[in-house]
């Protein structure tokens, strides 16, 4: 069924069809519309879930952890400061291998306070053990929820998932979205079967402490599960394609890369602007292409290497800032490492922080900088303010 949905509601509708037993979230701009929509669904009896109105994001994710440990499928959503307030719990959820799915409406973090979009929040949590998937449009926001639960709950994975999408740009934009029926979702995503759970009939202890004799092996196993998830995401993405016609078996998307001389790497909604810029530049005879990272954790290094093979000039579009690093953004390092070729120039460009608009002209300027070998810098700084 097709509907015209706001990005946030594309997330909420998908979350509903995944039949979470427990929903717990705290309102924060620009995520708010998701939890409001879910609250309405519960109030109207459309969604039969326990909806916990917590007093903070910290408790939201803690409650999700408890509910998941007790054998329920759970859902949450947040942004920015809310995600940072959850940080300690995020590490804990991954360490305790609870397959929680959480939507992130990406937003800048303070200070200064900004409610507008960049991807600093989720990128800052790249090492906490959550799979990170980035959507480009409302359809992907919607579809990725089904895929996320199926991947998270796979017993070869058992890791939590962030579904990231740019705040306001996607969360507050209306687009046509093709929604499956409940029966179709049920056939794709069976009821949650926990690997283990809190149950008085079969008592187990969870979240114990580990001495130096044991700790490292736990962390190793989390990393191995993350590595294994690469194939699971491909498999589930393919299965989704077979059932619903939209194939997500690729962890990256290549746009006009085959004969490209310059490649831009990006995540999320800005890819649309970049594609338009590429179309214009191609019309001018410039051989430019885009590599969109759909999955950032686990990092699909092999896919990136393959997609960029033969291209000597790569620019990474960073909606995050790794303060104090030589390359300015965190994504660039991963791309450079994946390419692993000293004859290839991989430069990073920080842009669009705190909601600064990104135009086709900006992208064209960036391509000029990539060609000239000038990078690892901020794009579009207002010199008069510095």
């Amino acid at each position: 069924m097709k509907g015209i949905l706001e990005g946030s509601h594309a997330a909420a509708e998908a979350a509903k069809l995944c039949r979470p037993d427990v929903v717990s979230a705290y309102p924060i701009t620009p995520q708010t519309h998701i939890v409001e929509r879910l609250a309405e669904m519960v109030a109207d009896g459309e969604l039969d879930s326990e909806y916990i109105c917590v007093e903070s994001e910290f408790s939201a994710l803690s409650a999700c952890l408890g509910a998941s440990a007790a054998g329920s499928r759970v859902y949450s959503a947040t942004s920015s400061q809310g995600l940072l307030l959850m940080t300690e719990v995020c590490f804990n959820v991954a360490g305790m291998r609870q397959p929680i799915v959480m939507s992130i409406a990406n937003r800048a973090v303070g200070a200064p306070l900004s409610i507008w979009n960049d991807q600093q929040d989720s990128i800052a949590l790249r090492d906490c053990g959550w799979i990170q998937i980035y959507a480009e449009d409302a359809q992907e926001i919607h579809d990725f929820h089904y895929i996320a639960y199926k991947v998270a709950e796979d017993h070869d994975v058992l890791l939590p998932v962030f579904i990231c999408f740019d705040g306001f740009i996607l969360s507050h934009t209306y687009e046509p979205v093709d929604m499956p029926t409940q029966a179709e979702v049920d056939a794709f995503l069976p009821p949650y079967k926990p690997y283990n759970m809190l149950d008085a009939k079969n008592p187990i202890s969870m979240g114990m402490y580990a001495t130096p004799e044991y700790y490292m092996e736990f962390r190793y196993e989390i990393d191995q599960a993350m590595v294994r998830s690469l194939d699971v995401i491909r498999r589930v993405g393919k299965e989704f394609g077979q059932k619903f016609g939209r194939d997500y078996s690729n962890l990256v998307e290549a746009y006009k890369l085959e004969d490209a001389e310059v490649a831009i790497v990006a995540l999320g909604s800005v890819s649309g602007t970049i594609k338009d810029a590429i179309d214009e530049m191609r019309a001018d005879g410039k051989k430019v292409g885009l590599l969109r990272l759909i999955v950032f954790r686990p990092f699909p290094a092999e896919d990136v290497k393959k997609a960029l093979s033969g291209i000597k000039k790569v620019g990474v579009f960073e909606k995050n800032l790794s303060i104090g690093a030589r390359m300015k953004g965190a994504v660039g390092y991963e791309v450079k490492d994946a390419v692993n070729d000293s004859s290839v120039s991989v430069l990073s460009y920080v842009a669009g922080l705190g909601g600064r608009d990104i135009t086709i002209a900006d992208i064209k300027k960036m391509v000029g900088e990539i060609e000239a070998g000038r990078g690892d810098c901020f794009l579009g700084l207002r010199e008069e303010l510095i």
């Binding site: 717990s24 408890g66 509910a67 719990v89 804990n92 809190l198 008592p203 187990i204």
Partner: protein
């Protein structure tokens, strides 16, 4: 259901000899029975009872973080409700986790009215990290972060009244108890788990290491705290104090003298001014709760 004979905390855990909290854990589970799920905070009890790959818990047990047991319990309770299950959801957390770092999560859980029983084992300081003061540390106790010195007589703030704070949340049942009275602990936990809504129990658990006394005397110390009026055992139902343990009150001196954390009040000479202040705290307790026989 309460079963005084059941042992749901196994022997062989790593607690100190004479550990008050370890005794409390056994009593608590005798009160709540095998159909219980325990949420723990980071702290002594978590560490002495669950060094991976061993566990002392014969009921389902979960530890997430230092400060979020009440929120984790909220999630568990909600999940049980959705699944139509009936286990008793307990939090068993130390005073640092309860009085200080976890109070926001506790307040949220109580305000939301989850059907959980939150039990604080109160050993009156951060014992797991080496005896630092908490909001539960009594006035004048010397701890590693409130040491007695030339210009200090130890912790300079009175103990926070957490039972009153949680009663003010509309909790249907708030109680204090002590390991000195095991049957009373079992009875109160049983009552709490059978009461619908968020209940709070604070159990006084002397810590031989942190307070500085012989581990053979833990129960004796707990009893002395009650007999001098520095600890009061009572039940509050819907915010009203009921069933206070009455005593023939003794001066606070003997209780203070028997612990190293108060030794500075007696050496090199007796500090009458400070001891009088502590006596006044006991007197206020006696008046407030009507404990004098």
């Amino acid at each position: 259901m309460a079963d005084k004979t059941c042992e749901l905390v196994d022997c062989g855990h790593r607690a100190c000899g004479g550990c008050g909290p370890a005794f409390a854990a056994r009593l608590i589970l005798k009160g709540s029975g095998p159909e219980s799920i325990v949420c723990a905070s980071t702290g002594c009890m978590e560490v002495f009872s669950t060094p991976y790959p061993q566990t002392a818990w014969k009921v389902p047990w979960i530890h997430s973080l230092f400060e979020n047991a009440a929120a984790v319990a909220s999630g568990i309770e909600s999940a049980l409700k959705k699944q139509g299950r009936k286990e008793n959801v307990l939090c068993i957390c130390g005073d640092g986790a309860t009085f200080d770092i976890g109070i926001q999560c506790i307040s949220g859980a109580f305000e939301r009215g989850h059907n959980i029983t939150y039990i604080c084992y109160d050993n009156e300081a951060y014992m797991n990290t080496g005896i630092q003061r908490s909001g539960a540390t009594p006035y004048d106790a010397s701890t590693t972060t409130s040491p007695a010195g030339k210009r200090s007589t130890g912790n300079n703030r009175p103990k926070k009244d957490l039972p009153q704070i949680l009663a003010a949340h509309g909790s249907p049942y708030v109680a204090t108890c002590s390991i000195a009275y095991p049957n009373d602990v079992i009875k109160k936990v049983d009552r709490a788990v059978q009461t619908e809504g968020p209940c709070y129990i604070q159990i006084h658990t002397p810590c031989c290491t942190g307070w500085g006394f012989d581990g053979a005397k833990t129960v004796e110390l707990a009893k002395m705290a009650i007999e001098c009026g520095l600890w009061v055992n009572y039940e509050m139902v819907n915010g009203k104090v009921e069933k206070v343990k009455k005593i023939k009150r003794k001066p606070v001196d003997e209780y203070l003298k028997s612990q190293k954390r108060f030794a500075h009040l007696f050496k090199p000479q007796r500090n009458d001014v400070e001891i009088a202040k502590i006596q006044a705290i006991a007197d206020v307790n006696a008046e407030k709760y009507g404990i004098d026989l």
